[in-house]
């Protein structure tokens, strides 16, 4: 569905994206991660036709970009990290506008409003919506026309736990229906919970590409957090369980002093992410 070959995007001497190779299958939920300045948004802008690559090729749904962008764009959905609504119009009017522009029956709008739990606020102007409501409206708007590829930038920022669950459900449903979902986020729990595969970028280059589980297994470590009483004071200590010496030291400490609390941390995707970006920086 998405094929990126040797993609480079330069702004003068600065290489925002440098030799990126990536393939995303149809119906895949793909996470595109990296610290600030890694080139994530630049790549998404190139995938949505807003930027032309300096070199390399991009193919989305069989269309070469930017050459065949006109043919591709009706099949795309893009949810940026800002609210691109007409705030003087109501939620319903915004959805009806985009439905008409995309050749979708506007009668489908009430069902979508219900799906993102905005039926009651449908006839209020968007300027009176909270940021979370605006985000849900945006997601409904970009799913109206059943895009073949959906690009999301921070899809669940500013959403409460309930709404995050709702959005995740919608995205899974879309992926199951064959839509390729390409998302960037800084929420590592979201990546772990949602993504089939993940690409990790740093300074425009691809650091890692795999499933979240394999990346965790390869790069995250188990830790044990200890609290012990020593000389009337509580001391805190974190021990890496893969390190035999550290394990032995912790055991000795527990034998000698009264422990208050022992807590083991299972490896998480966030740890794997930190480890990978730390290794790359070193």
């Amino acid at each position: 569905m998405i094929e990126i070959r040797d993609l480079s995007i330069r702004f003068g001497p600065y290489r925002a994206v440098d030799g990126l190779d990536l393939t995303v299958a149809a119906g895949e939920l793909f996470g595109f991660l990296g610290p600030n300045g890694a080139g994530k948004t630049t790549t998404i802008r190139a995938l949505t036709g807003a930027l032309s690559p300096s070199s390399g090729t991009i193919r989305v749904a069989g269309c070469d970009l930017p050459r065949q962008f006109r043919a591709l764009k009706p099949k795309l959905g893009y949810i940026p990290d800002l609210d691109t609504h007409y705030e003087d119009l109501t939620g319903r009017e915004n959805l009806r506008l985009y439905a008409r522009l995309r050749g979708v029956d506007p009668d489908a709008v009430p069902a979508w409003l219900a799906k993102v739990e905005l039926s009651e606020a449908a006839d209020l102007r968007v300027k009176s919506y909270s940021r979370g409501m605006k985000k849900k409206l945006l997601i409904a708007r970009e799913l109206l026309h059943a895009p073949v590829a959906l690009f999301l930038d921070e899809p669940t920022a500013n959403l409460d736990r309930h709404s995050i669950g709702l959005v995740h459900g919608l995205l899974r449903e879309q992926a199951a229906a064959g839509t390729t979902i390409f998302l960037t986020t800084h929420d590592m729990d979201e990546v772990d919970a949602l993504c089939d595969r993940v690409a990790l970028m740093r300074r425009g280059r691809l650091l890692a590409l795999d499933t979240p589980a394999r990346l965790v297994a390869a790069h995250a470590q188990r830790w044990c957090d200890l609290q012990v009483e020593r000389d009337g004071r509580t001391e805190r200590l974190s021990v890496r369980l893969e390190d035999a010496d550290a394990r032995a030291g912790a055991a000795a400490l527990l034998r000698e002093h009264a422990h208050v609390r022992i807590h083991t941390r299972e490896p998480s995707f966030e740890q794997a992410f930190r480890e990978l970006t730390r290794e790359a920086a070193a």
Binding site: K73, P74, E93, L101, R102, A108, H145, A146
Partner: protein, 386 residues
């Protein structure tokens, strides 16, 4: 969480261009409805033209009041012709005599129907016959000034002084109703002044609707990423621009129609007037589209739009003193648009046909080029965010 409803709809057919344009046009209408401040500003300009029209109406040249008012004969000190005419003035043609050091510098009172300026011209030598230059001025009612001219010239013949004269028949200069106290005394019933005020009002309305409002609405869309979202629909940036052009042209034409109905109703049925108004509007829209294309935020766009207005004013002001700016001015559609509008409002349209044709030609050369450039730049730049 998700209820499994509704099934997303893949569009069966891409909507046609006419349908897309209509949808985008309706969106612009709705946005205007939800922005009462913009709507009020347009209505205020229309209301100003109504006020100007009311102010001008009581002293219309054909009115009884104008007919009853005396014409003025302005002359220098000790002018024998003026003294002769004063002795023979009758009630059939009421005249007032005004002795001033230099009649050419006289500022006439408002509502004056006609005047004659008698100015002695320096003779070649003492033996040469006395010479005078008499300028007859009128405001709309040229017939009244012609009657005055016949009477003055008859008096001169009867006086048999042997003096030679040069005569001219001219309308009052624009803004002749101004006196030393300033704008508070503008004579709106004077034809030239009405032309000036009408031109300014119509151009201001077009500038507001087609430039300021376009910049404000479109720069907002660009800054908030809405333009980019629209560009990803089948409509695209070009269609969005065309819908905006049609909307602002329609709104501008509507405002102009109301203003013309009160200021100069005969223009409502004049194809030339509409051609000038629509071309002016297109020129202003092209400038606005370029401003939005080159600025990323609404604040920056507003500032650039204001700078554009100041820049045009500066070129106009400097072109009187510096010939280079005169050339620049000749290349600007604003110059041709203002000249064409002023010519349309002239009481003596025949006298301004040459100006009108010249201005139309200037607009025909500049506006299409500007429009093409703005569409190309818009397609490339105006929809991207960040």
């Amino acid at each position: 969480m998700s209820r499994g409803l509704p099934t997303p709809q893949r569009p069966v057919l891409a909507p046609g261009r006419a349908r897309l344009l209509l949808t985008l046009f309706r969106k612009e209408v709705k946005r205007l409805q939800r922005n009462p401040a913009a709507l009020m500003a347009v209505l205020l300009l229309v209301l100003m033209s109504v006020l100007v029209s009311i102010e001008a109406r009581p002293e219309a040249p054909s009115g009884r009041r104008a007919a009853a008012q005396a014409c003025v004969i302005a002359h220098g000190p000790g002018d024998e012709l003026a003294a002769y005419l004063a002795r023979h003035a009758g009630e059939r043609l009421p005249v007032r005599f005004l002795e001033v050091p230099d009649p050419r510098r006289l500022r006439y009172p408002r509502g004056l129907p006609c005047a004659a300026e008698i100015v002695p011209v320096a003779s070649a030598g003492a033996a040469a016959p006395e010479r005078r230059r008499i300028v007859f001025r009128y405001d709309g009612d040229r017939a009244r000034a012609e009657r005055l001219a016949r009477w003055v010239l008859a008096g001169m013949a009867a006086q048999a002084s042997g003096a030679s004269i040069e005569q001219a028949m001219e309308p009052f200069a624009a803004g002749h109703g101004l006196d030393q106290r300033g704008l508070g005394q503008v004579n709106l019933s004077a034809g030239k002044t009405r032309a000036l005020v009408g031109t300014v009002l119509i151009y201001s309305a077009l500038f507001f609707v087609c430039c300021a409002m376009f910049i404000s609405f479109s720069a907002h869309e660009r800054e908030r990423g809405i333009a980019q979202a629209l560009a990803l629909t089948p409509a695209g940036p070009t269609m969005a621009l065309f819908a905006k052009l049609i909307f602002h042209l329609t709104l501008g034409a509507g405002a102009c129609a109301v203003m013309l109905a009160v200021l100069a109703p005969w223009m409502l049925v004049s194809p030339v007037a509409w051609a000038i108004l629509l071309t002016t509007a297109l020129g202003l829209l092209s400038v606005a589209a370029l401003v939005v294309s080159f600025t990323r935020t609404q604040t920056a766009a507003s500032l650039v739009g204001f700078s554009y207005l100041m820049g045009v004013g500066a070129v106009f002001a400097l072109s009187g003193s510096f010939p280079a700016f005169g050339y620049v001015r000749a290349l600007m559609f604003e110059h041709h648009a203002l000249a064409a509008l002023a010519a349309l409002f002239e009481p003596e349209l025949k006298a301004s046909v040459a100006t009108l044709l010249e201005s139309l030609l200037g607009m025909a050369l500049t506006v299409p080029m500007l429009l093409i450039v703005s569409v190309l730049v818009w397609r490339k730049r105006a929809w991207t965010h960040g």
